[in-house]
């Protein structure tokens, strides 16, 4: 299959401007359209390793980012996310096209794919087991995720755990990882080889930059992973890095709290999440220094974390 990087730049631009660039990310094919320069360059850089979908493959979502027309264009340009002709969100300032595309695609998967049970969580894999870091935005899960990626963990997603309710396995949906504010500098230091997209300032979430997912994670996007660890990340200034075991019921409640569509799956949803906590080591990770937090998780994955024991 062709990768986005294999397309001549002219063709990439024509696809984005015209019929849509069909990119496969794990189980989902996105048909992306945009003529906004920041979006085109963002897609070209950060989706370079992603496979283009075959011609006869159907797209799950037809998304795009377009400049809003009308009088607005004379006083300060704005961009809108478009899902198949509808504009589900308010327009944003014109420089935010690429983050808007990413947020919009997250919204499609978390809200418009009831075939999956979706959780707000970063997911990585090591030794064939998935580590789930369920947490709301701003709790540092993307930062941890970017750091672990750099230490050889396979990225499944920095934002969305896509669970197949019938198997309780997590389906990878490797896409650019979103970093905010201080995390951007932190990861530049921690992992100097990371490929960063443009930093977009003054968004609702502050400064935002996306980093390119590792080629291996993208290549192995069809390998689902069975959960092995559920860790609730808790960033606390000045706290020594520490993993504390958490009861299975607590862990289950945390998964439910961070689920986007738990309610619609009824009993099957409960059983899938129960299977996840049953087969996982569940902990709370308190940390301040990123390096120490990462080391705790490394020890956990090696089965050697001093404080880890089954509850």
């Amino acid at each position: 299959l062709k990768r986005v990087a294999d397309l001549p730049p002219r063709l990439l631009q024509d696809l984005l401007a015209g019929p849509g660039l069909r990119v496969r990310t794990g189980p989902v094919v996105m048909s992306i359209r945009s003529s906004v320069p920041e979006v085109i360059s963002g897609v070209a850089l950060l989706y370079a390793e992603h496979p283009c979908a075959a011609d006869d493959e159907m797209a799950d979502f037809h998304v795009g980012v377009s400049r809003t027309g009308g009088w607005r264009r004379w006083v300060g340009s704005q961009v809108s996310f478009v899902l198949d002709g509808t504009r589900p969100f308010n327009a944003l300032p014109g420089n935010q096209g690429f983050p808007l595309l990413e947020w919009g695609m997250n919204w499609c998967i978390s809200g418009l794919a009831p075939q999956y049970l979706t959780l707000h969580a970063a997911v990585l894999e090591r030794h064939g087991r998935a580590l789930l870091l369920p947490a709301p935005s701003g709790s540092g899960k993307s930062t941890l995720c970017a750091a672990l990626m750099n230490r050889g963990w396979r990225l499944l997603s920095d934002e969305l755990a896509v669970v197949d309710p019938s198997t309780a396995k997590v389906l990878p949906i490797p896409r650019p990882v979103s970093l905010k504010n201080a995390s951007i500098g932190l990861i530049r230091q921690f992992a100097p080889d990371t490929v960063f997209g443009r930093t977009v300032t003054e968004t609702l979430k502050g400064d935002v930059a996306h980093i390119k997912p590792p080629a291996e994670a993208v290549r192995r996007a069809d390998e689902a992973a069975s959960p092995g660890w559920v860790v609730i990340p808790r960033f606390e200034r000045g706290a020594p890095a520490q993993l504390s075991p958490m009861g299975k019921c607590d862990a289950l409640m945390r998964l439910i709290e961070n689920a986007f569509n738990y309610n619609i799956h009824g009993r099957a949803g409960f059983e899938a999440l129960a299977r996840i906590v049953e087969s996982s080591n569940c902990h709370v990770l308190t940390y301040d220094a990123l390096d120490d937090g990462v080391q705790c998780l490394e020890r956990l994955s090696a089965g050697a974390c001093a404080t880890a024991h089954e509850v």
Binding site: P27, D84, L112, P114
Partner: protein, 360 residues
């Protein structure tokens, strides 16, 4: 570009004739028209699921999961409402989605529900509101203008939201705003309502009234984005109730009693044209006597035919966009007398402008 979703709804066997390339467009149109669940149930019933590409199957099966969750939640809300109201001597009439689900009618299948709509006598409004408040439903739209808008001009209380479950109930005392062109005696609807056997205290509208309400909802609405879904509900109700021999004549007569003959004309004509609902020529002719005079009837026909599509970008022409704007204006025009409308739009415009500037 064809409106595949219309083909599939009017002829379920059509799903067996779809080529693999058609599924993507079908699903896009179905999602756009809020008909994904209905298409999914047609595909499942026609045993065509295996013919669909894997991606389409996943979305269709997901839509069935979602529709079932909505049905379950709607029934749970009805149970809560019964507990809050019916035990205290306030019987309720369910409307729209909740009614279809409670009475196990065909439109409930594969349908998604938003708010729960109930109808109570106007004289019972205060008691119903205070009982709901005691059980955790709180009024929304607390702005004094909005409160007045609902309480004085509309046919419903401001939506009430449950503080824990975040579910919303719309308490109606009529099926059209009292200030609108339609003057409906809601007492007639409540008197004729049919009890739901498994739910003491809960009724649904009688078949003819249910159909007429669905038509009022569709053709008096300024928001036409769900028009095709609403017409599909009407199509399914008509096909279901038609098995009772006297249904068509009763429907015509009831429309006259409720002064809804023109709405009935639109409903029957468009269901027949768009979804090929089997309606005999005599009924269509009788209903057609209430048509608007020439040339208005022709204009309305053209406007509504544009709105009664999936409205997916691929099927939208410039004329169709214009039609939606005109129907939007018409909906407002019907909703209240012009001076009141002018005031309302001015107020809403100012609020919108103020909020925008606040946000900026």
């Amino acid at each position: 570009m064809q409106d595949l979703v219309v083909h599939v709804l009017s002829d379920p066997a059509y799903v067996l004739k779809l080529r693999s390339g058609d599924w993507e467009l079908l699903l896009r149109q179905a999602r756009h028209a809020a008909l994904m669940g209905r298409v999914a149930s047609i595909v499942a019933r026609s045993n065509a699921m295996d013919d669909a590409p894997e991606t389409a199957q996943r979305h269709l099966k997901g839509a069935l999961v979602l529709a079932e969750a909505h049905r379950r939640e709607a029934m749970r809300e009805v149970a809560y409402l019964r507990e809050a109201l019916c035990g205290n001597g306030c019987p309720i009439v369910l409307l729209k989605g909740a009614a279809y689900a409670a009475a196990s009618l065909p439109p409930a299948e594969g349908r998604t529900f938003s708010d729960t709509d109930i109808l109570v006598p106007r004289s019972a409004l205060a008691a119903v509101e205070s009982r709901l408040a005691q059980k955790g439903w709180a009024s929304t739209h607390l702005d004094p203008y909005d409160q007045r808008y609902y309480r004085e001009w509309m046919h419903e209380l401001p939506p009430m939201e449950h503080i824990r479950r975040r579910t919303v109930v719309d308490v109606h005392h009529n099926i059209a705003p009292p200030v609108s062109r339609l003057k409906i005696d809601a007492g007639l609807l409540i008197d004729n309502a049919c009890a739901v056997p498994s739910m003491p205290g809960v009724s649904v509208l009688a078949p003819e009234d249910m159909v007429l309400h669905a038509m009022v909802h569709l053709f008096q609405n300024e928001d036409t984005s769900r028009a095709l879904r609403d017409l599909s509900d009407i199509d399914l109700l008509l096909r279901h109730f038609a098995s009772k021999g006297s249904f068509w004549s009763a429907l015509i007569q009831r429309a006259q009693e409720l002064h809804l003959s023109r709405v009935l004309h639109y409903g029957l004509r468009f269901a027949h044209e768009v979804f090929s609902t089997p309606i005999d020529a005599k009924t269509l002719e009788l209903a057609g006597r209430a048509a608007a005079p020439w040339p208005l009837d022709g204009w309305m026909h053209r406007l509504w035919r544009h709105a009664l599509s999936s409205q997916h970008p691929d099927v939208m022409t410039p004329q169709a966009h214009t039609a939606l704007v005109l129907l939007f204006l018409r909906g407002h025009w019907l909703r209240m007398p012009p001076p009141m409308l002018a005031r309302h739009l001015l107020h809403k415009g100012l609020v919108h402008w103020r909020d925008r500037n606040k946000a900026a």
